[in-house]
C-alpha cells in the first residue's frame, strides 16, 4: 500500500467529492425539470387527462433527440451553451451542464413510464369524485407513482456516475478523471483499481438505498 500516500488520499477524497457534486447537482436539476416534463408528456399524451397532440409530439421528439445523442457528442455539441451558463467549458461546474441535460431527458422518459403504470381505475375514481386535473396530478398520479419515480431516480443516479466519469475525462475532475490520469497515463494500476472499487461500492450503495425506499413506499 506504499502508493497510498497522504497526497494520494487527498486526491481520492477530492475526486470523490467532485463526483458527488456532479452527480448530485445534475440529478437534482434533472428531477426538478424532468418531473414536470414527464407530467406534461403524460397528461397531454393519448388517453391522458388533457390530450394535446400539438404540444405532446414536439415535446416527445425533443426528449428523444436529447436521449438518442451519445453523451460524449452531446457534451461537445453544447459547449457554447455550457460556456454561457457556467462561464467556462472545463471543470466540475461546467460538467454539470451536459450531465443535467442528458439526465433530464433520460429521467423524463423513465418518469413518464412510471406515471403510465398508475392504475387508470384510480384516476377514473378520482374524476368520478369531482377531482380537478391538478388534484389528480398532485393527489393521485404523483403519489401513486412515487415508488416508480424513486426507482427511476435510482437508475438515473447510477447512469450519472458513469457519465460523470466520462465528463471528468475531458476536464471535469472527479473519480473517472483521477483514474485515467494516474492509472492510465502514469501507469499506476492500483489507483485505477481503487477508483473502480470506490465506484462499485458507491453504485451498490445507491442501488440498495433506492431499492429499500421503493420497498418501503410501495404498500403492494
Amino acid at each position: 500500500m506504499g502508493w497510498l500516500t497522504p497526497t494520494m488520499q487527498d486526491l481520492l477524497l477530492d475526486a470523490f467529492w467532485e463526483t458527488l457534486v456532479m452527480v448530485g447537482a445534475s440529478a437534482a436539476i434533472a428531477v426538478a425539470v424532468g418531473l414536470p416534463l414527464a407530467l406534461l408528456l403524460q397528461v397531454t399524451g393519448r388517453g391522458g387527462l388533457r390530450p394535446l397532440p400539438w404540444l405532446n409530439r414536439p415535446l416527445g421528439l425533443l426528449v428523444n433527440a436529447a436521449r438518442s445523442t451519445p453523451f460524449i457528442i452531446l457534451m461537445v455539441a453544447i459547449v457554447p451553451f455550457t460556456r454561457l451558463v457556467a462561464g467556462t467549458s472545463i471543470g466540475t461546474g461546467a460538467a454539470i451542464v451536459p450531465l443535467a441535460l442528458a439526465a433530464t431527458a433520460f429521467l423524463a422518459r423513465l418518469f413518464e413510464n412510471a406515471l403510465r403504470e398508475v392504475d387508470a381505475g384510480v384516476v377514473e375514481a378520482a374524476r368520478a369524485m369531482g377531482a380537478s386535473r391538478w388534484q389528480i396530478v398532485t393527489k393521485v398520479l404523483v403519489p401513486e407513482a412515487l415508488p416508480g419515480l424513486i426507482a427511476a431516480v435510482t437508475v438515473a443516479l447510477v447512469s450519472l456516475v458513469g457519465f460523470s466519469a466520462m465528463a471528468g475525462a475531458i476536464g471535469g475532475g472527479g473519480l473517472g478523471d483521477l483514474g485515467i490520469r494516474f492509472g492510465y497515463q502514469r501507469f499506476m494500476p492500483e489507483v485505477m483499481a481503487t477508483v473502480v472499487l470506490i465506484l462499485i461500492v458507491f453504485v451498490q450503495g445507491l442501488q440498495s438505498l433506492g431499492d429499500w425506499l421503493v420497498r418501503r413506499l410501495s404498500h403492494r
Binding site: 384510480v122 377514473e124 368520478a128 369531482g130 412515487l146
Partner: protein, 355 residues
C-alpha cells in the same frame, strides 16, 4: 359541499333520454337511443352480456363518458349544461363503486375514504371525524390504518363503498361492484348496499352481468343488448314473465329449471294415443297454496309427475317453480294448461331443460 336537496316530488332521481354513443366512426353504437328514469329511493339494475353497453351507460350518468346525443338529468339538473367546475360539484353528489375497487394503493383505508372530502377541500379535522362515522357503517373500524394490499376483496369493496358515500351523496352508481368477488362475499356486499340504501335514503343504479345480483337487491331492472334497452320493469314481473328471448335466458340462470338429463331419459314413453309433455310452471303469489296439480290431474284425467320443484323469493315476493311431466290426451293437456294459465300460473313448454 352537499348537492342541492332533491325531493321525490321534483321528479326522477336520474333521467336519461335518447342517449347515443359511438366510439368508432362507422362501428356499432355502444348506446343506441337509451332512455331511462330512476325513481328516488329505488335500486335499479341494468343487466346484459359483456359488451352490451352497460358501463358506457352508467358512466354517462356522471359524464365520465359524454354521450354523442341525448340528455342527462340528475336530481333535476341538466349535467350537460354545466361547466367544468359545476360538473365537478355535481359529481360530488354522485357516489360511484367500481368492479376493481380502484383504491389508492399508497393510502390507508382512512385516507382512501377521506379522499373525496380532501378533494372537496374539507379541513383535516372535519375529515377525520367524517371518516370515523363512515368506518362503522361498513364494519371496518379495525382496519382504518391498513393499506389496501392487506385487505380481502370484500373489505376493499367496503372501503370503496364508504368512499363513495363520504360526501353524503343521494345517488350511488355501482359498476359491476360484486363481479370480482366470490358468491358469499357478493351476498354480503349486496346486503350492505341494500341496508345502506334503506338507512341513507339512497337511489342506487347498478349494472351487472349476473341475474343473481338483480334478484338479490333490485326493485326494477332493465335488460340491455347491443346498446339498447330491450326490456324493463319490476324485477318480479321481468323474472316471472320475461318477454324477450335474451331476458328469458338471463332469467333461466336464476329461476333454474335445471332437470338432470338422466331424469328425462328415465321417464317412461307415453302410452299409444297419448302424449307426454314437459312444462315449467311458475306459481305466483296467492295460488302457491292451492292444490293446482291434484285438481288438474283429477279434473282433466292426466298423469302428472313432478320432475323438480322448489320455492324461492324475488324482491321479497315468493314464487314456486316446478318442472312437470304431464301424460294424457293432447286435448286434455291443452285444456289443463289453459285452465292453469287462467289461474295466473305461467306455463312454458319450450325451455332448455338440460342444465
Amino acid at each position: 359541499m352537499h348537492p342541492p336537496s332533491h325531493h321525490p316530488a321534483d321528479g326522477p332521481a336520474i333521467r336519461l333520454a335518447g342517449l347515443r354513443k359511438r366510439f368508432a366512426a362507422g362501428g356499432a353504437p355502444a348506446l343506441d337511443d337509451v332512455s331511462l328514469e330512476l325513481r328516488t329511493g329505488e335500486v335499479f339494475g341494468i343487466v346484459g352480456r359483456s359488451g352490451a353497453g352497460k358501463s358506457t351507460l352508467i358512466r354517462t350518468v356522471n359524464l365520465l363518458e359524454r354521450p354523442d346525443a341525448g340528455s342527462v338529468t340528475v336530481m333535476g339538473r341538466d349535467l350537460l349544461a354545466l361547466d367544468e367546475a359545476g360538473l365537478r360539484a355535481a359529481r360530488r353528489g354522485i357516489g360511484m363503486v367500481f368492479q376493481h375497487f380502484n383504491l389508492h394503493h399508497r393510502r390507508t383505508v382512512a385516507e382512501n375514504i377521506g379522499f373525496p372530502l380532501e378533494v372537496a377541500g374539507m379541513p383535516a379535522a372535519a375529515r377525520r371525524a367524517r371518516v370515523a362515522e363512515l368506518l362503522p357503517l361498513v364494519g371496518l373500524e379495525a382496519k382504518r390504518d391498513a393499506f389496501p394490499a392487506q385487505l380481502s376483496g370484500g373489505q376493499k369493496q367496503r372501503v370503496g363503498i364508504a368512499r363513495a358515500l363520504a360526501s353524503a351523496p343521494s345517488l350511488l352508481l355501482c359498476d359491476e361492484a360484486t363481479s370480482a368477488l366470490d358468491p358469499e362475499t357478493t351476498a354480503e356486499i349486496l346486503a350492505l348496499i341494500r341496508s345502506l340504501r334503506d338507512r341513507l335514503d339512497l337511489t342506487v343504479l347498478l349494472i351487472t352481468h349476473e341475474m343473481g345480483v338483480v334478484k338479490a337487491i333490485c326493485d326494477r331492472v332493465a335488460v340491455m343488448e347491443a346498446g339498447r334497452i330491450i326490456e324493463q320493469g319490476r324485477v318480479f314481473e321481468v323474472f316471472t314473465r320475461p318477454a324477450q328471448p335474451t331476458t328469458r335466458r338471463f332469467v333461466a340462470e336464476v329461476i333454474g329449471h335445471g332437470v338432470p338429463p338422466g331424469t328425462l331419459a328415465r321417464l317412461p314413453p307415453a302410452p299409444p294415443g297419448q302424449q307426454r309433455r314437459l312444462a315449467q310452471v311458475l306459481f305466483l303469489g296467492p295460488h302457491s297454496t292451492r292444490p293446482v296439480i291434484s285438481e288438474a290431474s283429477r279434473d282433466f284425467g292426466l298423469d302428472i309427475n313432478i320432475v323438480s320443484g322448489r320455492v324461492d323469493e324475488i324482491a321479497g315476493e315468493p314464487f314456486g317453480v316446478m318442472a312437470l311431466a304431464v301424460c294424457g290426451a293432447a286435448a286434455a293437456i291443452d285444456a289443463a294448461f289453459g285452465w292453469m294459465r287462467g289461474l295466473g300460473l305461467v306455463i312454458e313448454e319450450d325451455v332448455a331443460w338440460a342444465g
